[in-house]
Each structure stands twice: as C-alpha cells, then as structure tokens.
C-alpha cells in the first residue's frame, strides 16, 4: 500500500505587492460614456417629471399613448435622451481615457438630482395651480 502526496503551490500575495498583469489596460472612455449616459438619463427623467407638473400643456403633450397617460411620453423621451447621450459620449470618448473620478462624481450628482425630481413631495411643489 502506498500513499501519494500531491504537491500544492500556495501563492501568497499581499495588497501591497504589485498586481500581476491579468489583462492589458483599456481606455476608460467607453465605460465612462456608459456610466455618464445613465446619469444623464436619470436626470432627464427628473426634469421631465417636474416640467410636466409645472406646464400643463407639456403634460398633455407627453400623453402619447392615452391608456398610459403622460408617463408614456416621459419614459419615451427619457430613453431617447439616454441612448442619444450614450451614443454621443461613446463616439466622443472612443479609444480615449478620461478623468473617471470626475465622470463618476457627475453621474452620482445627476442620479441624485433625478431621484429628487421624481420624488412626489419635490415635484408636487412645482405643480401648476
């Protein structure tokens, strides 16, 4: 009877040791474009919600499909703005690297403003009397 011991290699890595090259670096422009476009889309929705509350004629115009009401126009406009923004930014930043921290901060601000704009207690303050 014999016993076979298998050799095991243990790799010890610390956070301070230099990272191995797992994959080549990529320009961050396309990623930044996708993230910022999402922020622009969220912000656009907030603006559309407030504008539809403040301007009754605009609210009526947003009702492109009567069973859904103004929400139909708001969401269609938001999606169009989102994809146009994404396409434009992706074109402008194709193959380039940008200041990712600034883009990310701008995205967070846009998303926060969008969240505020879609919160009933906020947009109702703009409701036309």
């Amino acid at each position: 009877m014999s016993t076979v011991f298998q050799r095991t290699t243990v790799e010890i890595r610390g956070a301070s040791s230099p990272p191995p090259i797992i994959a080549p670096a990529k320009p961050n422009g396309p990623a930044a474009a996708a993230i910022l476009a999402a922020g622009i889309g969220c912000f656009a929705l907030g603006v559309l919600v407030i504008a539809s509350e403040a301007i009754p004629a605009f609210k009526n115009a947003l009702s492109v499909y009567a069973p859904v009401g103004p929400l139909s126009g708001k969401t269609i406009a938001q999606i169009v703005i989102y994809f146009v923004a994404w396409g434009g930014l992706a074109y402008a930043w194709h193959g380039k690297s940008v200041a990712f921290g600034k883009v990310y901060l701008a995205t967070l601000i846009l998303v926060a403003l969008g969240l505020l704009g879609t919160f009933p207690l906020v947009y109702e303050a703009f409701t036309a009397s």
Binding site: E11, R13, G14, A15, P19, P20, I22, A23, P24, A25, K26, N28, P30, A31, A34, I35, A37, A38, G41, C42, L45, V49, Y65, P67, V68, G69, L71, S72, K74, T75, Q78, Y82, F100, G101, Y104, T107, L108, V111, G114, L115, T118, F119, P120, L121
Partner: protein
C-alpha cells in the same frame, strides 16, 4: 384555481421578474465585490467572470422587461378611467388615497432609473472583462451604481406589492 390575464401579467411583472432581479442583484454584487486581483488567481478569474457577465446582463434585461411590462401592460389597467380600477378606488377613499398620490406616483417614475443604471453596469463589466479586477475605482463605482439601481427597483417593487394588496388589479 385560475388567474385572469391581468393577474397573470401582474405576477409576471412583479413576482417572476422581481424574483429574477433580486437573484441577479445578489449574485452580481457578490461577484463585483470579490473581483479583486489580490483575492483571485487568473484561473479563478476566468472561472467567475462569465458568471458575473451573465448575472449583470440578466439583471439589466430583467430591469428593462419589468419596467416595460409594468408601464405598458399593467399600468393602463391600474389607471383606467372606470370606478372599479385600482386608481379610482384608491382616490375615492381618503384613507387610502396616499397609496396612489405618493406610492404609485413615486413608483411609476423611480423604477425607470433601474434599467439605465443596470445597463451601464453590465456594459462596463463586459467591456473591461478580466481587467476589471485591476480597476478598483471602476469596480467600486459599479457597485455603487448597482446598489442604486437595486434601491430604485426595491422602492418600486415594495410599493407595487403593497398597492396590489390594497387595491388589486383584477
């Protein structure tokens, strides 16, 4: 035991897609958190990356399907201009009107942020591939956006469940 067409679509919109979204979020967040070069070997990275790409993509697709079915299929039944629609019944009762004036009004808008943010996360995960393990700032940004997407969907999902309990779409 049977479901009407409206009940079936409400189940698809709220429970089926909602459960998928929850599962995809939990898996995606755990995958993003642990995708660090100091935690995974190159072979481990190759093993878990496809799972992360699929998880985040499924979450984005499910988020789109949820808001599209909710807005364009279920919502018209909810807001139909008849006395028996959930919206009419809620507004007719001052004790329950807030479910519409606050709950539904918030839900119908905030939900539309989730697919945009989830799509951005899925795109960046696929774009970077294994390199994401060496881009900590990008990875942390994705986790934050992923959580915001989930929070927006959670607000919408919770209000949807409560409103459907108070005034069911049947």
């Amino acid at each position: 035991m049977a479901l009407t067409d409206r009940e079936l679509w409400t189940v698809i919109h709220g429970m089926l897609l909602g459960a998928l979204f929850l599962l995809a979020f939990a898996g995606g967040l755990a995958g993003l958190y642990s995708l660090r070069w100091e935690l995974v070997t190159p072979s481990g990275l190759r093993e878990r990356l496809p799972r992360l790409e699929i998880g985040t993509s499924v979450m984005a697709i499910v988020a789109w399907l949820t808001v599209i079915t909710g807005t364009w299929i279920v919502y018209p039944w909810y807001r139909a201009a008849v006395p028996t629609s959930p919206r009419s019944m809620l507004l007719a009762d001052p004790a329950r009107a807030l479910w519409h004036t606050f709950g539904m009004e918030w839900k119908e808008h905030v939900a539309w942020m989730a697919p945009l943010l989830a799509t951005a996360v899925a795109f960046v995960v696929i774009y970077y591939g294994p390199r994401l393990a060496q881009e900590p700032k990008v990875r942390q940004a994705l986790m934050a956006l992923f959580v915001i997407a989930f929070a927006a969907a959670a607000v919408a999902g919770l209000f949807g469940a409560f409103i459907n309990k108070v005034a069911p779409t049947i």
